[in-house]
Symmetry: C2
Subunit: 377 residues, 2 copies
Amino acid sequence: MTQKVVGTGARAGAPVVCVIGGGQLARMMQEAAIPLGIELRALVETEDGSAGQAIPYSTVGHAEDRDAIVEFVGQNVVTVEHEHIPDEILREIGSRPSADALRFAQDKLIMRNSLDAPHPQWREAHSAEEIDAAIVELGGTAIAKTPTDGYDGKGVAVVTSAADIPWDWADGDRILLEEKVEFTMEVAQLIARSPSGEVKAWPLVQSTQKDGICWEVIAPAPVDYALAERAEEIAKQIAEQTGVVGVLAVEMFVVGDRLLVNELAMRPHNTGHWSIDGAVTSQFEQHLRAVLDLPLGDTSPTQPWSVMVNLLGSQLADPREALGEVWKQDPGVKVHMYGKEVKPLRKIGHVTVCGNDLEDVRRRAHVAITIFEGKES
Amino acid sequence: MTQKVVGTGARAGAPVVCVIGGGQLARMMQEAAIPLGIELRALVETEDGSAGQAIPYSTVGHAEDRDAIVEFVGQNVVTVEHEHIPDEILREIGSRPSADALRFAQDKLIMRNSLDAPHPQWREAHSAEEIDAAIVELGGTAIAKTPTDGYDGKGVAVVTSAADIPWDWADGDRILLEEKVEFTMEVAQLIARSPSGEVKAWPLVQSTQKDGICWEVIAPAPVDYALAERAEEIAKQIAEQTGVVGVLAVEMFVVGDRLLVNELAMRPHNTGHWSIDGAVTSQFEQHLRAVLDLPLGDTSPTQPWSVMVNLLGSQLADPREALGEVWKQDPGVKVHMYGKEVKPLRKIGHVTVCGNDLEDVRRRAHVAITIFEGKES
């Protein structure tokens, strides 16, 4: 039986970053923190969860427990791996990004109302009558969204009337309705900003969803240069306007030669996981550099194409059983397992393949995921 | 105060690897273990040492304490990060590599006597008379070595008579004497072997020493193809003969078009650190794959040139103070800090730079190291 009590307080000399949240994003931050000699501490939901398995200096605590968070953070730099921390706590601890910046990612109505960026057509509604009227104005079919707390397809529905909204809501609740955009492609622009105002962007990527969850990411997105340049300008503008610190992900629809902002995230994002294996500086290293106000790293890709595919659940009891089979088929696949229990459509890992030929790289990534999914091929 | 008691025993489903030793090699194994979902456990010298800072499932214990090691290992796969574990313990726990293989790396006289490989001229001596006679036969100047426990220039001396040997020795002690090879270059061939017999080699690298300690590594070594091919053949032959499992490093002298084996290590090695940033599969990931008997990874370089330079001590209290200055000068430098206290000539970190132009890449790596060393430039 292996058992250990970890020391108290900082080891001398190590820069310290505290992260609130114990999922795979904090786990992958730790992969970047170790080589840099940064001491990452995590406030985790469970001791042996995804991040707790990898971060010796973790503390169990709830993301809404003010006292636990204040004690955990102390005087250190603090960041977050999700948006579900109350605003007043974020203000008290001086989080990076700040509470003011995070409002744009936490509340889709604040984003739509305040962001200087191209949006899809949208309406705010508070009753069945307002919803039905908005749907008519938006063309008879619309996307209904809860302004807060939606993720991975939850709190999002295609509707033709107020009766179609699948979650519990009451008169007076804020409902966001958006036009159903007939997009040619979904893309994401990742960018990082430091408190000093330095900004660096990775190449634009293409993302493909499956049941509303990010599924495949191709870096760089196969689009023309002018579009990629415009996407970077939009993300830079949002970074400046919001004053974000750390990684910002701007998910956008491509409609012909137009770009429309879909969602924002202010933390490392699923559409940036490819950068661990395919860029000089990964989004996790960059996030740590940004929140510590260190110079930002080179975001160049190291290979012409990188393709990331998520492992969304598996029919295997544990996908790690399939490591041997995956590597027997293809010894160059980069595997990322999150140490999470298997549940249907849950993000439990991802693979990345890099190389010169996009179609070959895509095929290899999908073959590996199919094996990890435990499906008959 | 952050404090944590880590759980007991394995999380369900995780492949487990136990490593004896708590230095930077175990720390860098953890960087490779986390993404693969491998649970690495370390037997460390101190709880907050280099590996203890990064590995939640660590246990404090001594590498010569049989009972502590047997309890730590249990029924799991076990490997080592140094050669200082007694033979009978290695046998009892079934280490990978095995005790029989490790003898070749632990004892330079066993290596010289038994290895089917090209060696420098050498003699074994047990008294001042035998030493002096051997030195004459070897040309008047020789390299004296302790057969065991020497490392990083310790237990090695250039001698012209027995009186020159700088360490305590007594009549009857075994002394290895080797010709002073006038080499044109020092190279290292890294290779990994799994229990199933699969073998994969990285490109040959050039290494340069400073005071007997590895200082700079250039990957690939700037040598002709025929020489690189012969180096790989020698390493493969040694891997087969010794039955090594895991990473094997074969350090060799280049003398004209000849290769002479200098030293062996059976674990990830300083001359392979470049592979973290410059190869599809790092030596640390490959070592874990090999000891778990999983298929070995693609060893191709991802960029034309990688240069690694060690940080050997620093005039700064902690080199991490200089992260900002290093990255201000060059945002693309890959930094690896070991979380160790600064001591003169101690290996406390390394940097790697990858790119297309060897001279530019070398220059960038040395500029970064000079800043971390805290020297006036």
